[in-house]
Point group: C2
Chain length 379, copies 2
DNA sequence: GGATGACGGAGATACGTTTCTCCATGAGCA
DNA sequence: TGCTCATGGAGAAACGTATCTCCGTCATCC
């Protein structure tokens, strides 16, 4: 049997196998046109009279034709898939601390991707080639990449657009989005001071990610500017037990603070428990704010003021930036010719946060209010 | 230029383009072996001496070779991708009501998939060909499919394994997993009765999904068996406002219940608010239980007893069943020869729930306890 | 009346793998 | 010497699509 005969006879010889999905060839044969015509008709390309188009579409529909995503991806170089990379601790993707934030952010990202015809795949930053190589991505969102992150560098080297949630320390990304952590912390400290706080303490982390670093620096700078001695405890944020211990230590100090801001989600609960142990009334003896996306703090006694990082908005923005980069890439490749995209060119975007004021940070008026929205954009 | 010359010269002519990823051909050329040998060496197949293998691996590493997922998928028919289909309401995937459940379930599913070398893609049940056709799936998890779900039927017709979370009403699936809703509801009703409830009410939904239906039937059956007149309000579960209204209506009835079980996550908060309006003390005048995965109910006043569906376990199980089906499929195809898999063959699995007992359902002992731990094994 | 161009569509190639088939070589053995 | 086998590896055919190139056919225009 010659190669040609084999090729043309393939369908008939294998059609006996059940569940054989119809291919573009079958549609072409059934419609009495060429493969080219079918492809053009279904994709709205080429120059075809409308009657041909509708006829081909009819036949395709009748045969239940579904184009092979794999073949299309191979041919076009586009998969319509974007990755969402998370750091893992142990078996689970993303940490306990980040759970509420991540869940909201991932949901918004998924939604934003779908709105633009992309699908989102959650991938762990750790397991390298196992899964990563097996999925064709058009680009990746990276959450909180570490300094000189090897994985991000690797992705970038492959020419994949990478957008990071969290200002990247020292790794090349196409774009990034972050909250204005500096402004957020200053806002909280001012808010506490206005409520009567004299000695504001901080519960912070020992890790070197941007969020922890920027927030802590903002706190220290504020202390310098108002002449307060810094009062803080740092602990490994991924360990929930360490958080409870650190909260206790902070309130056990001889120079006990009269207000505390906790950088991580569980801090509110931990601080509340510690305050009870030391018979401190909130907010009378101790003002409390923590950074959290959880609605638990609306139901605690008293309800705790929280800083929301607005993960929905971050997720949406990050995905849209990524898709912009993916879709702008083809045209950019043709026009621009410089070898290395200038590092200063990387577009970063700062998103506002929202302070949800509840009883725990209000000594004067016990009413629950919400802070006025900031003008978006600057600082 | 002949075709052969063109083919062999391709790399050299196009190498001038930047960011050209190395292909298997380049590795073969650099290592001085054939493409076959490279493929075999990297995939651990064929019969090759170890020195050849390591040499090829070295060269591949040096060139930064990453196999094309698209090409591999096209060739092997396996993408390593599984879908997670959710029903959508409006723009967002999954409803407000299901949020905590879904977040946990999705996380566990993602984790379970990654553990077995698969990645998980969240896809909306609605937008049909837009995205669905563009991603090559090895199988799909469907959450709570409706009766005669056309999408599930379509997937199944294409020969894709489908596993559903929630016993499927009347659509063909490969397997399914569900909680034992009947037993769960009976357990709760007994628990409330033991705590002194005489007239137990139910807050239920108007939709026809399995969860709502089975739970309501269990309630009605229990009422019949103990001779209590049913007291329930049904509302469209996807509308949070309707839930608050229904909770109010239930407590406003002349034959007001002295205990209520709410089938949906926000019911606890809504019932608590309604109870306050009618000056009912919980648990003294009204016992409360609701089905929820949210930890909000540990912090309410009083803390509310909840039924957890253990979404983590469900997500893990569902994914593992799906992957079993995917990987068992190839061998099954060769041996079995029957045209239609018998419907009775579909393997279903019932998972236990967990009642987290808190103050809202305990009239006698005010201590907060947790139900006795089950025999260990899974989360 | 022949060059021109729009129209409608077919052929063939390439995307980058995996894998089936088959070949060369040399050792072992009668 | 001639035969079989195991070893190591090469060739080439798919997988199913998109798209580049090109070809015939009319109608039109100078």
């Amino acid at each position: 049997m010659t190669a040609a005969a084999n090729h043309h006879g393939r369908r008939t010889t294998t059609r006996t196998r059940r569940l054989e999905r119809a291919g573009i060839r079958d549609v072409a044969a059934a419609a009495g046109v060429s493969i080219t015509t079918v492809s053009d008709a279904l994709n709205g390309k080429g120059r075809l009279p409308d009657e041909t188009r509708t006829k081909v579409r009819e036949v395709a529909e009748r045969l239940g034709y579904r184009p092979s995503a794999a073949a299309r991806t191979l041919r076009t170089g586009r998969s319509g898939l974007i990755g969402l990379t998370v750091t893992t601790y142990g078996q689970e993707p993303f940490t306990f601390t980040e759970f509420a934030y991540f869940a909201e952010m991932a949901r918004a990202a998924t939604s934003a991707a779908l709105n633009r015809g992309y699908a989102l795949v959650v991938l762990p930053a750790s397991s390298r080639h196992d899964v990563w190589s097996n999925v064709a991505l058009d680009g990746t969102v990276v959450i909180d990449p570490s300094d000189h992150d090897p994985m991000v560098a690797d992705l970038y080297r492959q020419g994949l657009p990478v957008v990071s949630d969290g200002k990247p320390g020292n790794c090349p990304v196409t774009a990034w989005v972050d909250n204005d952590h500096h402004a957020a912390v200053l806002g909280i400290l001012d808010h506490l001071a206005q409520a009567g706080a004299r000695r504001i303490g901080l519960l912070t982390g020992t890790s070197t990610d941007t969020y922890t670093r920027l927030s802590t620096e903002a706190y220290l700078g504020w202390c310098r500017s108002v002449g307060q001695e810094p009062l803080y405890e740092a602990y490994p944020a991924h360990d929930p037990c360490a958080g409870a211990v650190a909260a206790d230590r902070l309130l056990a100090r001889p120079d006990r603070p009269d207000a505390v801001y906790g950088l991580f989600d569980p801090n509110g609960t931990d601080l509340l428990a510690a305050a009870r142990r030391y018979h401190l009334r909130v907010p009378d003896d101790l003002l409390l704010v923590c950074c959290s996306e959880s609605d638990v703090y609306a139901a605690t006694e008293p309800p705790i003021t929280t800083l929301s990082l607005k993960p929905r908005r971050i997720g949406t923005t990050v995905v849209n930036l990524l898709i912009d980069a993916i879709e702008g890439q083809s045209s950019a490749n043709q026009s621009s010719d410089d070898e290395s995209p200038a590092e200063e060119n990387v577009s970063g975007q700062l998103m506002p946060t929202e302070l949800i004021v509840r009883r725990s940070s209000q000594r004067r008026s016990p009413r629950t209010t919400v802070s006025a929205p900031r003008p978006p954009g600057e600082t």
